[in-house]
């Protein structure tokens, strides 16, 4: 005797093709300019920032920096659709989302410039800071969502990670508890095809990463992560379901990492120029611009004006960053515990005194 104990599927959706042409009927909101033009502005802003950050790194003014190039169509609608009281649990590539939710581009530069104050902006409220140890943030997201459940709040936790992260137990444990407890939580996998030098196919033998949701008993779907409309639709639905008590979702957004992994990486070592070229053909900003142009919602004049504005804003952030003096060395003790323990007072004094001595030696 054989029964079917489970049956399911994973769907992939896309609205705009690589040229920005609709391939299907668009949702109502995409038939008017407000949201999409704003997305376009944010996406190009993010991209300009990215270019600037890489330039700063190349000139020794910033540390190792992970580019967001190619993830704009995932990050922007997601941050935009979240409510203020929701909580973002980002990974290390979601700079634009953090800024959209209260942080400042200067903070992003501070963080990657080696200064803890980059995660200290009170405007970020309870959003979690950058998370470097892969996939560990997915469990924080479950804790955050559990806090909402305990308090009976209608808030949603949103967390992101890469394709590589889906191999780490943390991600899988997180999906599992989210399903078991039906947490108000949205998981977004930015499947940009590479985890540093390891291609997607070497992470997992399944045809989609979204199907990892199946084992956890949660909704999973795949979207074209270069298509801002597809991402918007999937995220909006997932947020609505989570907020309405209908449980968590996993969204796999198919994108392409157009940059090196970080500025410390050289992707030419392990991937072909042809592949990269194909990636650029799918890229999200041009796709959206084409669509906007086609609708007459955007044009060269608007672009020029916006670019000027963007440059100004980014230059301001860079200036602020560069003008931020290095923190006092004693700061490494000041937030280790809520209060400086007496055991550490002498060490704090020592690090300050040594710094002072060296300063004087340099000057004298």
């Amino acid at each position: 005797m054989t029964n079917i104990a489970y049956q399911g599927e994973i769907r992939f959706s896309r609205y705009l093709d690589a040229a920005g042409q609709p391939v299907t009927e668009l949702p109502g909101w995409a038939e008017s300019p407000e949201i999409l033009v704003e997305y376009y502005r944010q996406m190009t802003l993010a991209r300009q920032f990215d270019t600037k950050a890489i330039a700063l790194q190349r000139t020794g003014q910033l540390g190792t920096y992970p580019s967001l190039l190619g993830s704009e169509a995932i990050d922007i609608p997601t941050a935009s659709l979240m409510h203020g009281e929701d909580v973002l649990i980002p990974y290390y590539r979601n700079h634009a989302m953090q800024v959209m939710r209260g942080s400042d581009w200067r903070d992003v530069l501070l963080y990657w410039g080696g200064d803890e104050r980059g995660s200290a902006n009170p405007a970020q409220r309870q959003d979690l800071p950058n998370c470097v140890p892969i996939a560990t943030q997915c469990l924080h997201a479950c804790g955050v969502a559990t806090a909402f459940r305990i308090r009976g709040e209608k808030r949603v936790a949103v967390t992101l990670c890469g394709d590589g992260a889906t191999s780490k137990g943390d991600f899988l444990e997180a999906l599992n508890v989210a399903g078991t407890w039906q947490l108000p939580l949205v998981f977004i996998v930015n499947n940009n095809q590479w985890a540093i030098s390891v291609p997607r196919a070497m992470q997992c033998g399944a045809p989609t990463l979204a199907q990892k949701a199946i084992g956890a008993g949660i909704r999973g779907e795949q979207v074209d992560g270069n298509d801002v409309i597809a991402v918007h639709e999937a995220v909006a639905l997932a947020l609505e379901r989570a907020r309405g008590g209908k449980g968590p979702s996993l969204i796999e957004a198919i994108s392409y990492r157009l940059s090196d992994h970080t500025t410390a990486d050289d992707a030419t070592r392990y991937r072909s120029g042809d592949e990269l070229k194909a990636g650029w053909e799918q890229e999200p900003v041009k796709r959206l611009r084409n669509y906007l142009h086609g609708r007459g919602w955007w044009n060269e004049d608007l672009e020029q004006a916006w670019q000027t504005e963007v440059s100004k804003r980014i230059q301001q952030a860079v200036d602020d960053y560069l003008a931020t003096p290095v923190d006092d060395p004693g700061a490494m003790f000041d937030h280790l515990y809520a209060e400086l323990p007496p055991q550490l007072v002498a060490q704090r004094e020592r690090v300050c005194a040594r710094a002072e001595t060296r300063r004087q030696q340099r000057q004298g």
């Binding site: 305990i150 137990g169 997180a174």
Partner: protein
């Protein structure tokens, strides 16, 4: 009247007290709900406080730690149980890389006021991996506190302090003495100070320093030595990180001799840190090398041999006598 209760009952009492007093206190772990914990430390709490605040998780320690981190960033006060210290390794990434760093990382914007409880130590004839003492793995981590009670009253007061602490605390419960003694404990909500040693007995000839279950043997050794006319100061370190060095130094300043007793292997154990610090800051006071009486530098043996592994009162007496006889 205060009832006489065991150490594990005191843990339960403190949890119940703080859950009643502070609705943000929530518990999570394996088998802590209906079952009340495999050692019964959480018995009745599910019934009293409901499943939103007493959460049996899926079986994954890393998950438990990650949930606690997430919960605590949102202002809750999670108290996580790891069923045995032998299964604490999967929590290390979350505790070291996140719980201990969140406040510093965000310069105070977020913090992780969480507690991880775990029974530890040998001597109960348990299976493999159920008898470890690896407190040194955690007590060396900046940003954490590691607290170990050695009596019912201290379990109650220190656990309250741990839960109320604005910083993450690892609270290790010496399971060998979970039910060894009863002591009257008043459920008065009074926390004990963290970061303080407890001087259990004053003395002038030698300082015996210990924590957890080994405090029992250490006190027995002090009794034995007293019969031999030797006066021991006995100190329960209680908080291994951040440690109260001043009390230890003052005692050794007085006695000039010290024996440190712990169950974990000696090599790289917290006894090394204490001995190093006392020698560094108190060398002139020392009239003899500081001795360490510890578990051997080997894997905890299965239970047929564990009584050979665990330090005994007689070993402490021997070490103390050698220290006292040192010219």
């Amino acid at each position: 009247m205060n009832e006489s209760i065991t150490l594990v009952e005191a843990v339960n009492l403190a949890l119940a007290h703080e859950m009643a007093a502070d609705k943000d206190v929530v518990l999570l772990g394996e088998d802590i709900g209906v079952n009340g914990g495999v050692f019964r430390a959480t018995v009745d709490l599910l019934e009293r406080f409901g499943p939103r605040r007493v959460m049996d998780t899926p079986l994954a320690e890393n998950l438990i730690a990650g949930l606690a981190v997430g919960l605590s960033t949102q202002g809750l006060r999670p108290v996580a149980e790891i069923q045995f210290m032998g299964f604490i390794f999967p929590v290390m990434e979350q505790i070291i890389s996140h719980a201990a760093r969140m406040r510093n990382r965000t310069r105070g914007r977020l913090s992780c006021p969480l507690v991880v409880r775990a029974p530890f130590g040998g001597g109960i004839h348990a299976p493999e991996h159920h008898s470890e003492s690896t407190e040194a793995l955690l007590a060396q981590i900046p940003g954490l506190r590691v607290v170990i009670p050695s009596s019912p009253a201290r379990a109650y007061g220190l656990l309250l302090a741990a839960i109320r602490s604005p910083d993450p605390v690892i609270f290790l419960e010496p399971k060998r003495i979970y039910r060894a003694v009863k002591q009257p404990v008043e459920d008065n909500g009074q926390a004990l100070p963290l970061d303080t040693c407890f001087t259990l007995r004053e003395g002038s000839d030698i300082t015996l320093i210990s924590w957890g279950a080994m405090v029992k043997e250490t006190l027995e050794a002090a009794d034995e030595l007293a019969q031999q006319g030797l006066s021991c100061e006995v100190i329960d370190v209680a908080t291994l990180n951040l440690m109260d060095q001043d009390t230890l130094l003052a005692s050794v300043g007085k006695t000039g001799r010290a024996v440190i007793v712990h169950e974990a292997p000696g090599h790289g154990g917290m006894g090394a840190e204490i001995a190093a610090t006392l020698s560094e800051r108190g060398l002139l006071d020392l009239q003899a090398p500081i001795a360490r009486v510890t578990g051997y530098d080997t894997v905890m043996p299965y239970y047929r041999l564990e009584h050979h592994y665990l330090p005994r009162a007689a070993d402490i007496v021997d070490a103390a006598r050698q220290t006292l006889e040192f010219a």
